[in-house]
């Protein structure tokens, strides 16, 4: 967190910057998803921006309730009533998916953007064979039927390391173990031949050994197919393994974003710092594991303060009054915290954050 990482005037808005580089496959801008219940409205996703380039993995990390899964479902158009996307845009290859009809969205699901879910035990239909469910996707997205589809399905199962694939095709999900089911679900997603794969905590329900195998498999598949991946997890250790860039979510907002190495080497936001300190083994000399006290608050109204302030060790009075804007602190590294930009005096910083909710350039 040294001041010399700030190079004023060097950076423009992140969006423009990304346009200069490789083409963005998915661009999410100011996405807001709200759930309307009888008692209150819950701002599950509250104005987040990110983009994913071809062949790249963006990791989204955050605690339970920070809005990670809602983000994934918003992209897929799977938000159910009483939830609704109330603002922002989700541009896939330049097309805005927000506001598209259900039928139009069906055209994007699977073939363009596929998704792997958290719970492999219940994500396969129990009354159809695994082969049937994979072939369904092959028929839909690759126009394969009959013997051809069976061959391709067996090949896909083999490619996700399921032995004896041809026999396995005619088995039902309950005859598969948890890890096998997640492999089958990955095969099913691949059968859709997507360009972007959203993985919503794909390893959370699995034991550690299986977890490692699935992660390895996903990385291998990504390399082979040049897939873009949005990887959602609460496990920051997993993020270090799979992601190229990381977005840290807290209470519906992205509070820090950087490439994976700088984020782990030099986390800016006190929350990210806390998360990293709570990884076992990172502080071998400490005799107790560091934790962040408290829970993620439920955002019931638009933010007017820093939502992390009540749990923040570095909080000061103004954190309760000013909503932090996004600050560029380094090349492709932004943070939303009143402590930045560090070079400026506290008064200047507060003035900047108050004046703008846009990115503060340095």
């Amino acid at each position: 967190m040294s001041g010399d990482s700030i190079a004023p005037g060097e950076r423009s808005l992140p969006d423009e910057d990304e346009d200069e580089g490789e083409e963005s496959l998915l661009e999410v801008e100011d996405l807001r998803t709200v759930f309307y219940t009888d008692k209150e409205e819950i701002h599950a996703v509250d104005g987040i921006d990110f983009s994913i380039r071809k062949g790249e993995t963006l990791g989204i990390v955050g605690e339970s309730g920070s809005g990670k899964s809602v983000t994934a479902r918003s992209i897929m158009g799977l938000i159910k009533s009483p939830g609704r996307i109330v603002g922002g845009s989700i541009r896939y290859r330049g097309e805005d998916l927000v506001g598209k009809s259900e039928t139009e969205l069906e055209g994007y699901r699977g073939g363009d953007i596929a998704m792997i879910f958290q719970d492999p035990m219940t994500s396969l239909n129990p009354v159809y064979t695994v082969g049937n469910q994979i072939k369904e996707a092959l028929d839909l997205h690759q126009d394969l039927t009959g013997e051809e589809a069976t061959d391709e399905a067996a090949r896909l199962l083999e490619s996700v390391n399921i032995p004896d694939a041809r026999r396995r095709l005619s088995e039902y999900p309950h005859e598969f173990s948890g890890g096998m089911r997640q492999r089958a679900l990955i095969a099913m997603a691949l059968a859709c031949d997507p360009d972007l794969l959203i993985c919503d905590e794909p390893t959370t329900a699995l034991d550690v050994t299986t977890q490692a195998q699935i992660l390895e498999l996903l990385q291998e598949i990504q390399r082979e197919r040049d897939l873009a991946m949005l990887f959602i997890t609460h496990d920051i250790g997993v993020i270090a393994e799979v992601a190229d860039r990381v977005a840290v979510m807290y209470a519906g907002e992205i509070i820090e974003r950087a490439a994976v190495k700088p984020l782990f080497a030099d986390p800016k936001h006190p929350y990210t710092q806390g998360l990293l300190e709570s990884i076992p083994g990172r502080n071998p000399e400490a005799n107790q594991l560091h934790t962040i006290d408290g829970d993620v608050p439920t955002a019931t109204e638009p933010a007017s303060s820093c939502r992390f302030a009540p749990r923040c060790p570095a909080a000061f009075d103004e954190c309760q009054k000013v909503h932090p804007a996004t600050v560029s602190v380094d090349d492709d590294h932004t943070v939303s915290c009143l402590l930045y930009p560090e070079a400026d005096s506290k008064t200047d910083r507060l003035a900047q954050h108050r004046d703008t909710d846009e990115v503060i350039d340095e």
Partner: protein, 342 residues
């Protein structure tokens, strides 16, 4: 284990159930207050009547030791030697009696189950697919009301409505609608294969079938609705959606088959209800079916007939149970054919 092996195993396991049920029947009718000899010759008041009474007892084999009677009773039934009626229609084979009465009950039962399935399940599924809409409320509320109406009351109301349809439905004459048919009375199957005969008998069975199927229809609606709602919110439906399947395909392929699973026992348990409920409905609508025959046999103390009918009922129930388990294995692959799963 193959499906055939599973079936054979279930059939084998059914034998002790049938034996136990039949033994219980013997116990109940022999230990009960019915005196079959008295039922035939009247109470033995005078010495001559007493003599005749004793003679009848001997003829009927009631003087033999009880265990011998039990062995005879069981061997006869298990070898389908159902004997003759004693009181209702003395000397007639119970076979013939059952064959005369059974088709009417089967006709009634068939339509009660079918009408309930054809209306109850689609309405329930529709409500489940459109939860918290006006139609959903209508169906759910209607299902509860329809389910709650007692059969004996509904039977009389429907009988009155159909018999005097001109008065209640602005001159619509149900009895003479398409083909002339009486509202009550036993069914006539001699010309059932002709168009007019079929329509006539369908018109006649309709009110009774509505009554008999009412409870099941309400059940199927409510359970169908819940099952669809539960399935639609399941993870695998979300997976199917994420795959890009159309809403139509998801509903027909992924939702309905799973929603049918909890409906299987509801449908098969109707067969049980029909046997019990048929007595009431058959009496109100004047259909001389098995229910009516059973009721008459019991109040007249016609023991062979009661025993035979009980035996038939037991076999039907056990058979329906096996059918239910077979249906399960067909609809839900998780229901195993193996020892542990069965």
């Amino acid at each position: 284990m193959s499906r055939l092996g599973y079936l054979l195993r279930r059939l084998l396991l059914a034998i002790p159930v049938v034996v136990f049920g039949t033994s219980l029947t013997f116990l109940i009718i022999r230990m009960g207050p019915i005196d079959p000899a008295a039922a035939i010759v009247g109470s033995p008041d005078t010495p001559s009547a007493q003599q005749q009474y004793e003679r009848t007892r001997e003829q009927l084999g009631l003087t033999k030791p009880l265990w011998e009677q039990y062995v005879d009773f069981m061997t006869d039934l298990l070898t389908f030697n159902l004997g003759q009626s004693w009181v209702l229609s003395p000397g007639t084979n119970t076979y013939d009696l059952i064959l005369t009465y059974a088709p009417r009950t089967l006709w009634l039962g068939f339509w009660s189950i079918l009408i309930a399935i054809l209306f109850g399940i689609p309405l329930g599924f529709y409500a489940g697919l459109n939860p918290n809409t006006r139609i959903d409320y209508f169906v759910s509320f209607g299902g509860i009301v329809w389910r709650a109406m007692p059969n004996f009351w509904l039977a009389i109301i429907l009988l009155a409505l159909f018999a005097q349809s001109q008065q209640y439905f602005f001159g619509f004459d149900w009895s003479n609608f398409v083909v002339q048919s009486p509202v009550t009375g036993a069914y006539e199957f001699s010309d059932i294969t002709t168009r007019d005969g079929f329509i006539r008998e369908f018109k006649r069975v309709l009110p009774a079938a509505l009554v008999l199927g009412s409870a099941s229809m309400g059940n199927e609606m409510r359970i169908g609705r819940t099952a669809v709602l539960e399935t639609i919110n399941s993870n695998y439906v979300e997976t199917a959606k994420a795959k890009g399947l159309s809403a139509k395909k998801i509903v027909w392929k992924h939702v309905f088959r799973n929603a049918l699973i909890p409906l299987v026992p509801v449908i098969t348990s109707e067969a049980f209800l029909l046997i019990g409920g048929a007595v009431l409905v058959e009496v109100v609508f004047g259909i001389n079916g098995l229910g009516y025959l059973f009721f008459q046999a019991v109040i007249n103390g016609d023991l062979p007939l009661v025993a035979s009918l009980m035996y038939v009922f037991i076999i039907v129930l056990v058979g329906v149970n096996i059918l239910q388990d077979l249906l399960y294995t067909i609809i839900d692959p998780r229901v195993g054919l193996e020892e542990g799963g069965a």
